[in-house]
Symmetry: C2
Subunit: 479 residues, 2 copies
């Protein structure tokens, strides 16, 4: 079952739309032809089974085609985060011993400093194809891609995701979200992020088009929803907020059947606005090491189970490790979507994968009905006078303030309490709020020890390429 998904798809439904990006359109047959050409071109360059092929690319048709072409050769895709600084990229290229780096014109100048053979996608198109490459069907356990974890904590590690991991992730998502002949999935997350990459593979497996955007532009996304009949879109809270702001009062069409909202707990006012507007928001908790989604909350539960990430996907098991008296402990994940480990890093692998369970480093609890509540990254936990403070809980309160657009809470050292929370606030345009006003707002809603000691007003909060808040980066703007 772990054959060439795109090739099979092209044989079954050749004329269906596979990819819409800018003005370009590809049916599955057309995409498959392009993939076959790229596979032959890469074979000419001696790329074969097991080779790591690094990609430094903006979202584009070439990116989608290369992901499939690399797997057609039995080679392994290593999509790199285009936001990283050159020394970080060089470290990652060395870490996976990349045989080649394929980059686009946008990254041509930065790519030239790397100590690895380069291939510009421009010259790829003029590269003559050689003989038909020999395709060795991968085993279910072969790595399909190496994804560096988004780097919200610690040093970057290359998560191996196998064919099996991706396949089961696609099946779990399917059993949860359903599938309609008229579906189309909008990808505005970068394809080097697991949330973006998963859409590329689901598209081939499900036989539905990707509507691919290079970067997130709220107006462009809103237009695509209207004009390209997007039915599913993967976003994080800030993106959704910006989409709603840009949209104004105009309703969304009923063809938009699922807004898959990831990247951390969603603020209540946002969920309430979506409910008011009839937007079907499915909240999800996921991570690279589990090939994207782990648990999701159905739209009908969005407000009833506020703050919950819902129930696990069908093939996935959840467990809370060593819960404290309130039931909060580390979230463990088991099942066929879980990565076999980090590339050539037995130490990090042994630390993260124990007896078949993935130790996520996230804290959470399961309520009596089995709904998962993610409270925070374990590393972000603030311990103040012996009490646990979850930054996300404080953030959720502050986000309910009408003047607050975005907020990030972190712990600082405190002589009296060990640690104490401080808050970084980005105000809504045209709105004003003083630190005193926010403190008073918190006093009605939070235990005293949870109220931030300081409120810092900032123009933007540090986020990763997927839009996820980088709490450890707050330290830099806060110091």
């Amino acid at each position: 079952m772990f054959f060439d998904w795109l090739q099979r798809r092209a044989a079954l439904t050749p004329k269906r739309l596979a990819l819409s990006v800018g003005a370009e359109r590809f049916t599955f047959a057309e995409l498959d032809q392009r993939v076959e050409r790229h596979a032959q071109q890469l074979a000419t360059l001696d790329i074969g089974a097991g080779d790591r092929v690094a990609l430094l690319l903006r979202n584009s048709a070439a990116f989608v085609a290369l992901i499939h072409a690399i797997s057609r050769l039995g080679a392994i895709s290593v999509p790199l985060n285009t936001r990283l600084a050159p020394p970080e990229l060089q470290t990652q290229l060395a870490q996976v011993e990349a045989k080649i780096l394929i980059h686009d014109e946008a990254h041509a100048s930065s790519a030239h400093i790397f100590a690895v053979p380069l291939l510009n996608t421009n010259s790829l198109s003029s590269q003559p194809p050689r003989a038909k490459p020999l395709f060795t069907p991968p085993s279910p356990a072969s790595p399909h891609s190496l994804l560096f974890t988004s780097g919200t904590t610690g040093r970057a590690k290359a998560t191996m995701l196998t064919y099996e991991n991706h396949w089961w992730s696609a099946m779990g998502s399917l059993l949860n979200l359903g599938l309609r002949a008229e579906d189309g999935w909008l990808a505005c997350l970068p394809l080097f992020h697991v949330g973006g990459l998963a859409i590329v593979l689901r598209s081939a497996i499900y036989g539905i088009p990707i509507i691919l955007h290079d970067g997130f532009e709220p107006a462009a996304v809103n237009t695509a929803i209207d004009e390209e009949k997007v039915s599913i879109i993967s976003v994080v809270s800030v993106m959704l907020q910006r989409m709603l702001a840009e949209r104004g009062a105009r309703p969304y069409p009923p063809t938009l059947r699922c807004v898959l909202l990831g990247g951390g707990p969603a603020p209540q006012p946002l969920l309430e606005e979506c409910a008011r507007r009839g937007l079907p928001v499915t909240q999800t908790y996921g991570l690279t090491e589990a090939a994207s989604q782990v648990a999701t909350l159905a739209p009908e539960d969005a407000l009833r189970k506020l703050g919950s990430a819902g129930k696990p996907l069908f093939p996935t098991e959840l467990m809370i490790n060593a819960p404290d008296t309130t039931g909060v402990g580390e979230i463990l994940v088991r099942g066929p979507t879980v990565s076999p480990g980090y590339w050539r890093d037995p130490e990090a692998t042994a630390q993260t994968l124990r007896e078949g369970w993935l130790h996520t480093g996230d804290l959470g609890y399961l309520n009596e009905e089995g709904y998962l509540y993610v409270v925070d990254r374990r590393d972000d936990l603030i311990i103040s006078g012996g009490e646990n403070i979850y930054p996300s809980e404080v953030e959720a309160v502050l986000l309910a303030h009408p003047a607050v657009a975005e907020v990030g809470v972190m712990g600082i050292d405190d002589a009296q309490w060990g640690q104490a929370p401080i808050a970084f606030i980005k105000l809504r345009e045209g709105e004003a709020a003083s630190a005193d006003a926010l403190r008073a707002f918190c006093q009605d809603r939070l235990a005293k020890y949870k109220i931030p000691k300081r409120f810092e007003f900032v123009a933007r909060l540090p986020r990763n390429a997927a839009g996820k808040l980088l709490r450890r980066e707050l330290k830099k703007i806060g110091s």
Copy 2:
């Protein structure tokens, strides 16, 4: 991934409707509770891993619950064909060395002759549950059920269907037909048939209700489509014909999104009528040994690709073995839905499964676009003067005659040509046609050697429990 599907489903969506049968309704939580009770009751009777539990039951809630309860114990379901004569059943019970036979009240008197411990479903409900049975998770390759092949040819063999086979069949069907939260699947095929059993397992995996009927009653089916919002229904041609006749001019609601039509090529006039009425017919070719569907034809292709069974399911591969000059050969099937073989019958297994390919015994060809055309059972092929005559081709022509309701064609020995075709005709009520008229009708549409030598008019044609024509039984009514 091959855990207790129903248990997982009940944990994820406990309140969704799982089963509607007669006046009874079960949510997944309620069905799971009943299954747990039955599993405990069976454990009390020392049923455990690997035991064969034969079932002689009409379609009922007990049948559904027992299928899940038996697998919860790691035991193997052996659903028996209730139409068989007692000696045939006794042979099958002995063949699988059944540890017990569970029967319902309707089969109480016939069951008593069998040399195997009996359990009446009535006494099952009063059986006290013992300790919680220990559930050993099955391996993907463990047999879930043994299904005797419908017996259209040769002696009955018990096809082993593993957890893996059923799972992949459910996934392949899902990727093809899609899945909607509002789906409900009507099962009027007997659950001892793979087409019925597959619905029971899909229901648990997909989280959608089974609307279960005990036997096929066109009026009841039509009412259920209206009142229970049935979205998918599995039928064979004769059932569909009777549904349309009963329905009259009343249109079907748009909630009915898939009529899965199996059991052999569908007559053109039926497909045309369905197209006229806007009924979305998905034709399918399947067999017990491949856990039901192998290939399906999308509704939009129903008339464009007339007579085709469409393209294989996503996980399934097709090949035509040793094709003749017209491209017709035996249909071979490979993939994770294919049975590992017949229960303790290495000889039959070796004959049917060769180098990973299932030899179906059906003849067909693939056109240049990869669409499958099933022409006939190899055993039904008529060879007349060295020419191949496919009974289904002759039947399709005769079915286009307005007076013909059903037809069966078979070969008889012929002194001059070796074999020659004869036709058994069931006329439509109130219609008349002479043998001469039918012969003339054929002369305009068929090569001379394909025209039946004789036309026999009959009141009914022999069909198996799934409604499939039994050509070898024609001999009996024809002699």
